[in-house]
């Protein structure tokens, strides 16, 4: 059964007819062509599909689109500034070589953006916990943590 919903996606209002069984992952990918939202499992195991719903990171594969009615959705496509500059997290991922195949990357970046929104700093161990819901098979998490620490960590003491 189709129902009309309204949601704000990357700042834009969208009015859509959606199947009531549809996941937000399907809607974003298939209807809005927001293909940064990746499907690694479809059942909440990998975190590749992470988006922000009203600032909170959720697995889009487990979130019914119906629940998003009236809410604000943010995907990786919505992070660049209008003139194309990268968000600091995105830049840190580039600089720290935290990207390999890149399939887990948008999801991890969205979790990092959620953390940025909390306005506090994190230790490396706290960051490990925060991203434990994201599986990455390429990086061993080392450079991802380096990138996150650069933006979200405590300022490093200058050497020497």
């Amino acid at each position: 059964m189709l129902q009309i919903i309204n949601m704000y996606v990357n700042g834009r209002r969208e009015e859509l007819a959606v199947d009531i069984r549809e996941s937000l992952l399907e809607t974003l990918r298939e209807k809005l062509n927001l293909t940064s939202v990746k499907k690694g499992c479809g059942v909440g195991e990998c975190g590749a599909c992470t988006v922000l719903v009203d600032g909170v990171a959720v697995d889009a594969c487990l979130y019914l689109t119906m629940w998003a009615d009236g809410k604000h959705i943010l995907t990786t496509e919505g992070l660049k500034t209008p003139t194309g500059e990268l968000n600091p997290i995105q830049q840190a991922f580039v600089d720290e070589a935290a990207v390999q195949c890149g399939f887990c990357t948008p999801g991890l970046i969205m979790t990092a953006v959620e953390l940025m929104g909390k306005g506090r700093r994190y230790t490396r161990e706290e960051l490990r916990k925060e991203i434990a819901g994201h599986l990455c098979r390429c990086t061993g998490y080392e450079n991802i943590l380096n990138a996150l620490e650069k933006v979200l960590g405590y300022p490093k003491e200058k050497e020497g």
Partner: protein, 818 residues
């Protein structure tokens, strides 16, 4: 060097952090139909009938094909270069859908519909009847007398292949007699053991996925998440019985492969389904569960070993009988099992020799195929558990034992693969120093209590490419643009490892065009991209790197010829330097570095002398070419942009400057390195905490140190999972028990400590830039190093992977430690 050796940022990083990089499933058209594979619910038997009548009535179902509808063609799936000799061709043992069911989940039908709900509904309405045989899930079941042969037309029993390798003239028993004479019987010790590795899944985060349609030119066009587009094209052609020219494969960015996508998976079926639907686009994305249970896995291997050694730690002889669970279909056949046996044999030097026998067994379980490092992690697990068990039995220090007995400088394998640059022992020395080996071994001696610390190590060797076992060929194309920038087109594939970036650096190095003006075409389209066999082994920087170099030399020559025409000066007096045509001044002789001289003070570092002139057809000059280093830039004469404009539009001499070459690589070398681990074992909990882990690598000269390090991190994490948590489990009926990412435990960020890396950058004379294998090696020595550290901590030899808390607790109990 200008570009090579620098930590340039990935060329695809921006596209990937913005989510704009497109993967196979992101590219499918809106009106795409969906396909669902129907899997058998028995592990061994035959489909007698499939009644589709009710299923076909489901609204949205477009087409159902069963194992009775597919072409009667058996085809191979391995991502190997094709062999023109029938005896060396991959085994063709499966059809698009199989009536003979050989594993639980075998592909027996496929449903195409407008959406996945329709397909799933239809699946539930299929009426399938089977004839069922006993499942033969394990190697022992498959080898038992009377076991049903899974492929009776190919093999009378379930032995896919058995081979025997040896070094030295004597059998083990003869060696024992001889050793008794030479050393005295009382000076000899023996150790025997059985080691078992686990079957694991690759778990690339992007599942195996493709979509296909028939284009207006009649070509079946498949966009796939693959490592091997050109090989896939050939395999689809074989599977359909269509000419190769009518098949087109497109490979965009892929979300990891690790060898699973070095096999042709569901793409031939996908091609068949679009044809069956009149050429309409059909997507075939398998679920995570299907990806884990129905694609390929790492071979589970049992190694039954024996070793003879002296009381003062000299290795005399070893034997191994190796049984490898190949699963239901041949995939890579016996190649991986054989690779395990040869590396087991070659990693150590046995005074009297070593025998290793390898048997690959068909079983009714998930097909085993290529996975990162192609059997060598299994080989090294067996060889290095044995090494430490020998040390335990003889009271030797594992570092010293390895220094004394490991493969030596100048080693040449029986097939001719040679250590051209060698630093195994220096790698060990660096690793030992970094972890504090001596002090820790002392400090950890004689511990009591239930929480104990240990330090362990393991070493590896790894051949770079596949020459001379199979063909190594690669081609490259370079094209000049009007603004003096260039395209590079290859069929070596970017699979996350950073190939596009390092090829950009190489092209820049040779041509003098800066990396920001080198545009690598990341997508391979087999209708356009020159032939290369793709991403496997750790070949691309070595083999394709050489093609890039060769192509760059030709491209540079053509540019300089044109510059010579424009400037009216001989081309030999010119060079390209940072997008400018400059005068070429003679090279500073004093600035030349002799790679061997830099390592002169390191006793175990070796550069094997070799004769470049022995290499075929001008390949020597490719290896010798050092890009623009061979001259010094003088006065700037002409901008590349002006040159390009003129070349394109000159009324007197217009020329599109392009170059295209094939490089047939007939060299190979070994990379090597080691892992060192310091850990704490909480025995009552069976919990292992890795305090420090260090990988040391000699991968030759690094093209991009930052990406090299990242590659090592990923391999180390995979090695930790292999050691401690990963195993695909089956019940007695052959049903997979944990084919999902929740129950199959790949490491999360909580399971991985900080990862330390050390590189020894020895120039390998066979690498186009002094480089050799790096992609796969990082995974190899991690698991045995962890196992040996647990042995050091507790005195308990864990001979089976993974070393889960359950297994550890059981073992500690058995030894009365808890």
């Amino acid at each position: 060097m200008e570009s090579v050796g620098k930590s340039m940022k990935r060329v695809d990083a921006r596209g990937k952090v913005t989510g704009e990089a497109r993967y196979a499933n992101d590219l499918k058209p809106k009106n795409c139909l969906t396909a669902k594979v129907v899997h058998a619910t028995i592990a061994n038997g035959r489909v007698l009938s499939i009644d589709t009548s009710e299923a076909e009535k489901v609204p949205g179902v477009v087409k159902i094909v069963t194992c009775f509808d597919v072409p009667d063609i058996e085809f191979p799936t391995a991502g190997h270069p094709w062999s023109v000799e029938p005896a060396h061709q991959d085994i063709a043992d499966r059809k698009l859908l199989n009536e003979r069911v050989r594993l639980y989940g075998d592909d027996i039908a496929a449903i195409v519909g407008t959406d996945n709900v329709a397909c799933e509904r239809a699946e539930r309405l299929l009426k399938i009847s089977y004839e069922e045989y006993d499942p033969i899930v394990t190697v022992d079941q498959a080898l038992a007398p009377g076991a049903t042969p899974l492929h009776p037309n190919l093999r009378k029993d379930n032995v896919l292949l058995h081979t025997s390798f040896r070094s030295g003239e004597l059998t083990y028993e003869e060696a024992k007699e001889k050793a008794a004479e030479e050393y005295g019987a009382d000076q000899l010790l023996e150790h025997s053991a059985v080691y078992q590795t686990a079957r694991i899944a690759h778990c690339h985060i992007e599942s195996a996925t493709s979509w296909a349609y028939v284009d207006t030119n009649g070509k079946v066009t498949v966009t796939s998440s693959t490592q091997i587009p050109h090989i896939m094209r050939r395999v689809i052609s074989q599977a359909l019985g269509w000419p190769v020219g009518k098949i087109r494969v497109i490979k965009p960015y892929i979300g990891g492969g690790f060898g699973n996508k070095q096999d042709v998976l569901y793409e031939p079926l996908n091609a068949f389904l679009t044809i069956a639907c009149g050429g309409r686009p059909v997507e075939l994305e398998i679920s995570r569960e299907e990806c884990m249970a129905s694609t390929r896995t790492r071979h589970a291997v049992r190694g039954e070993v024996k070793a003879l050694f002296t009381r003062d730690g000299k290795l005399l002889a070893r034997t191994m009988d190796e049984y490898s669970n190949g699963g239901a279909y041949a995939s890579h056949g016996h190649a991986i099992t054989a690779s395990i046996a040869t590396i087991f044999k070659d990693l150590y030097h046995d005074e009297y020799g070593c025998r290793s026998d390898a048997t690959t067994v068909y079983t009714s379980s998930a097909t085993a195929g290529a996975m990162r490092a192609y059997g060598v992690p299994q080989a090294v697990f067996i060889a290095d558990c044995l090494a430490d068990d020998i040390c335990q039995a003889g009271g030797f220090d594992p570092l010293k034992f390895r220094m004394d007995n490991c493969v030596g400088a100048g080693f040449s394998a029986s097939n001719g693969i040679t250590y051209y640059s060698y630093s195994m022992k220096e790698c060990m020395r660096r690793g030992a120093e970094a972890i504090g080996w001596e002090e820790k071994r002392k400090a950890y001696a004689g511990q009591t209590g239930s929480v104990r610390h240990g330090v362990g190590m393991s070493i590896f060797m790894y051949k770079v490419g596949v020459h001379p076992i199979s063909l190594e060929t690669s081609s490259a194309r370079m094209i000049l643009n009007q603004d003096g920038s260039m395209q590079v087109e290859l069929s070596a594939t970017e699979i996350g490892q950073g190939a596009d970036t390092v090829f950009t650096q190489m092209a820049s190095e040779i041509t003098g065009i800066t990396p920001d003006r080198v545009y690598i075409i990341s997508t391979q389209d087999t209708d356009l991209a020159p032939f290369d066999t793709g991403a496997y082994a750790s070949r691309q920087t070595f083999v394709t790197g050489k093609a890039v170099k060769k192509c760059g030399i030709e491209f540079r020559k053509k540019i300089l010829d044109y510059a010579s025409y424009m400037l009216d000066r001989p081309a030999e007096e010119l060079m390209i330097w940072q997008n400018q045509i400059c005068e070429k001044l003679p090279e500073d002789e004093s600035a030349k570095i002799d790679p061997a001289a830099a390592w002169a003070d390191f006793p175990d570092v070796d550069f094997k002398p070799f004769e470049l002139k022995d290499l075929p057809n001008g390949e020597d000059s490719i290896l010798r070419d050092t890009g623009n280093i061979e001259g010094k830039p003088g006065k700037v004469l002409l901008d590349m942009k002006d040159l390009a404009q003129t070349a394109f539009y000159s009324l007197s001499r217009s020329e599109h400057i392009t170059a295209e070459v094939t490089s047939h690589c007939k060299e190979n070398s070994f990379a090597s390195g080691c892992s060192f681990v310091d850990l704490t074992v909480d025995m009552p909990l069976g919990k292992v905490k890795i305090n420090r882990i260090i990988n040391v690598h000699d991968s030759g000269r690094l093209i991009n140190p930052q990406l090299a390090q990242a590659q090592v991190h990923g391999g180390m994490a995979m090695g930790i999972g292999y050691a401690l948590s990963e195993e695909l489990l089956y019940d007695a009926k052959g049903r997979p028990l944990n084919d999902n990412l929740l129950d199959f435990k790949i490491p999360t960020s909580m399971d991985i400590p900080d990862l330390e890396t050390i590189f020894l950058e020895l120039d390998d004379p066979m690498g186009p830039f002094g480089n050799k294998a790096l992609g796969e090696p990082p995974v190899i020595s991690v698991a045995p190093a962890i196992r040996n550290a647990i042995l050091n901590a507790t005195g308990v030899a864990m001979n089976e992977l993974p070393m889960t808390p359950q297994r550890l607790v059981e073992a500690f109990r058995e030894k009365g430690l808890i």
